[in-house]
Subunit: 393 residues, 2 copies
C-alpha cells in the first residue's frame, strides 16, 4: 500500500535510537540519575556564549531569513574556503563550498551527484550504520572492508583488494564513529598511492569522501592527517553538530578539492541535487552564526576529561579498550561473542550501550562519552558489577 | 565520470533561478531601482518582531540545539496538531505530525514513503516545476493533467480520466503557485467523490498530497477549502517560508490524516525516510520559534495591496489576468504564443518575468508580487511600453 521498501524498513530502524529510547524508559522507571545512557552522540555541553550571542545578533538582521543563492551566502562560503585552505593547504575558493543542512545531508548530495546505479562505495567497518542507507538510496552498492583488528586503522591492502571497475568512491570517517580512532597518516598515504594506481588501471576517478564532523575533537595531542592534502580527488563533508554542539540545527558544508577534474560541473550538479532532494539551501541564520565561529570548539576539554575517566573506569572493570584518540566514543571489546546479548545483559545494571553489530563490527560495543561527568562517575559501580558478572575482575 | 543523470541536469537548472540571476545582472548594470524583478517567491517583508523575539528567547534555552526525537519536539507537534485540528476539523494528534525542513523536504519524505517504482502521481498544470524532479527522484512517474483553461480550477473530469491502476497519489497546491488561484470547494468535493470510486475500482488507496505553504495568504475574503476535511486519505505538507517570511530557515511539517489506514506505519516509515534522505530532524530552534507563532501571518496586508496594484497596472497595460485570490503570484496570458520569447522581449524594459512554460503551461507568464511597493509602482512605465510593443494598448 505504501512504498514496499519503506514498509520493510519499519521495525528495522536504528539500533542506536532504539537503545536511546530504551534508556528513556529506564530513566522514567528508576530516575534519570540511576540510568547510565551511553547511546547517543548528542553533545552534553550547551552551545558556547559566542554562538548564542551570534544567534541573537543575526536574528533581526535585514534579509537574514530570506532565500539566498542555493549554495549559500557568498561571505560564509568565503570564510569556510579560507579556513579549510589554512587547515589543509589546498587552494579552495568559495566556489568549492556548498553550504548544506548537516553532514548526513551533505553525504546524500555528494552520493547522488556521483553515483550511477550499481556503482560501489567502499565503507570501512566499523562504520556509522546509516552510510549504507545513504549509498543504497542513490542506487549504489556498499562494499564493506574491515579495519585492522587491533588498531581499527585502515587496512590498506584490504581496501586496495576491494577496489574494482565499479568502485566510484571510498568513504572515510576519521576521527571515527564508533571507534574514536584517528586513521594514521602512514595508512592514508599508502592508500592514496594505491588508489592513484587503481585509477590509472581502471581509467576513471575514485573519489575519497571524507566525513569529518569530529575533526576538531582529538585528545592527548593526537593530530588528524589532512585528507584533502593527501587525496587529490577528495570531497569533504563537515557539520557543526559536534564541534559547536549544534546537532539539532542541521548546519554543515561540502567542500570539493579544486584539483578534481570538472570540479565546477560537480558543484553545479550538487546544487541541483540539493534542490531535487528538497534541501533548497542550508538554514540561513545558522550559516552566518557558524561562519563567525569557525575557530571555536565547544566542550573539547570536558570530552578529554570524560573520555579518560570512562576509559579508566571500564578498564578497571576489566574491559579491553583502545585509549581515546578522537570523537567522543569508546569501542571496547565485548566479553562474549554475542555483543547484542552482552548489551542486553548490561541493561540489568541500567547501562545503556550500543552493540558493535550495529556498526558492522560484532564482538564490540560503543560508548558515547559526551554525557555529564556525573553520569560517568555514578556509573562506576554498575561497570564493576558488569565486569564481575562476566568474570573480568 | 559523475552521475550521468546529474551531468545531464546541469545546464537544465531552474528557469526561475536563471531569470533571477539575469535580474541580478541587469540590476548591477542599470541599478537595482531601475530593474523590476518579479521572478522569485522570496517574501519582501522581514520576519515579524514576535518571530525575532522568539529566536532571541530560545537562543540560549538549555538543550535547545541538541538532537530531539527525529519527528521533532513533542510540544511543537502537539501545538501543530491542535492548530490543524481547529482549522480542519480533523482529529489530529501529535503522533500525526512530523516536523521537517520545509515543504520541499516534506514532499520528498512523503513521496519516498509512498511510491513504488513506476507508480503515478497526478500533478495539475500549471505546477511548481520541481514537483516533477521530486516524483522522479523517488522513481515515480508524474502524470500531468491540465487545470481548466480560464479559471485554472481543477478539471475534475480530466483528473478522473487520468487515474489508472498505477495512480498512487494526487498532488494539489492551493492557493496555487504559479496561478494564485484557490481551487473551488465544488471541484474538490466532486474530485473526492470520484477518487473514492476509483479507489474502490482499483482496490487501493489514492492519496491526496496537499502542499499548503500559501494557505494563509488569500485576499478579498477568498477562503481556502480544507482539503483534509474533504479527502480522507490526505497528507498535508506545509512550511513557514511564506506565512512567516522565513524561506531561508527551512522549517515546516507533514501531517497525516489519522483516517488513513495504517497511519502509524506511514509515520514510522516517514521518520526512517527522513533519516535516509539525511534530514535527521527539522532545525531545532526554529521548531520552537514557529510553534509560538502559528496564528501569525507576516505581510498579508502588504501582499493584498501589492497584488491589487500590480493587477491594476498590467491590466491597464492591456494584459489579461485573473484577479489575485491567494499566494503572491499573478499568471497573465502572454500576448504571443511563445511565452519564452515574450519574457525575453520584456527584458528590454528591465522586466524580469518567468515563462508559463517553466510551470508546464505555455502561453502565460508568472509574476511574483512579494516585492516592494516601490518596485511595483516604478515598473508601470515599463509595463505600458511592453503593452504598446505587443499592440495591447
Amino acid at each position: 500500500m505504501f512504498s514496499e521498501e519503506m514498509v520493510k524498513s519499519v521495525g528495522g530502524g536504528s539500533e542506536i535510537r532504539a537503545m536511546f529510547e530504551q534508556g528513556a524508559k529506564l530513566a522514567a522507571q528508576f530516575g534519570a540519575e540511576n540510568v547510565y545512557d551511553f547511546t547517543l552522540g548528542n553533545p552534553d555541553p550547551e552551545a558556547d556564549p559566542e554562538v548564542t550571542a551570534a544567534i541573537k545578533k543575526y536574528a533581526d538582521e535585514p534579509g537574514i531569513h530570506k532565500y539566498m543563492p542555493n549554495a549559500g551566502y557568498k561571505d560564509v562560503r568565503e570564510k569556510i574556503a579560507a579556513y579549510m585552505k589554512e587547515q589543509n593547504g589546498v587552494d579552495y575558493t568559495f566556489e568549492n563550498v556548498l553550504m548544506i543542512a548537516g553532514a548526513a545531508a551533505g553525504l546524500n548530495v555528494v552520493l547522488k551527484s556521483l553515483l550511477n546505479p550499481g556503482e560501489n562505495v567502499i565503507v570501512i567497518a566499523p562504520y556509522f550504520v546509516e552510510y549504507l542507507s545513504y549509498i543504497r538510496n542513490h542506487r549504489g552498492v556498499p562494499n564493506i572492508v574491515k579495519a585492522k583488528a587491533d588498531s581499527f586503522d585502515i587496512d590498506v591492502d584490504a581496501v586496495v583488494n576491494a577496489i574494482n571497475s565499479e568502485t566510484k568512491a571510498i568513504l572515510l570517517n576519521s576521527p571515527n564513529n564508533p571507534t574514536g580512532v584517528v586513521y594514521s597518516e602512514e595508512a592514508l598515504r599508502a592508500l592514496a598511492e594505491a588508489v592513484a594506481k587503481k585509477e590509472e588501471e581502471y581509467g576513471h576517478e575514485i573519489y575519497v569522501l571524507s566525513d569529518e564532523p569530529y575533526i576538531k575533537l582529538t585528545y592527548s595531542g593526537v593530530k588528524v592527517p589532512s585528507i584533502p592534502s593527501i587525496f587529490r580527488n577528495s570531497i569533504v563533508v563537515n557539520s557543526f553538530s559536534k564541534s559547536l554542539a549544534l546537532p539539532g540545527e542541521r548546519i554543515g558544508y561540502i567542500i570539493v578539492n579544486p584539483a578534481i577534474k570538472d570540479a565546477d560541473i560537480l558543484m553545479q550538479g550538487m546544487i541541483i541535487c540539493a534542490r531535487t532532494l528538497g534541501y533548497v539551501n542550508a538554514p540561513s541564520l545558522f550559516q552566518k552564526v557558524i561562519a563567525d565561529n569557525l575557530d571555536l570548539t565547544t566542550g573539547l576539554e570536558s570530552y578529554a576529561e570524560r573520555g579518560e575517566l570512562l576509559y579508566n573506569i571500564i578498564t578497571e572493570a576489566g574491559f579491553e579498550c583502545l585509549k581515546p584518540q578522537g570523537a567522543f566514543y569508546l569501542f571496547p571489546k565485548a566479553p562474549i561473542e554475542d555483543d547484542r546479548a552482552f548489551c542486553k545483559a548490561a541493561l540489568k545494571y541500567n547501562l545503556i550501550l550500543v552493540s558493535g553489530s550495529g556498526f558492522g563490527c560484532p564482538g564490540y560495543f560503543r560508548l558515547a562519552y559526551c554525557v555529564s561527568k556525573e553520569t560517568i562517575l555514578r556509573s562506576k559501580n554498575a561497570w564493576m558489577e558488569l565486569g564481575k558478572e562476566f568474570g573480568l575482575i
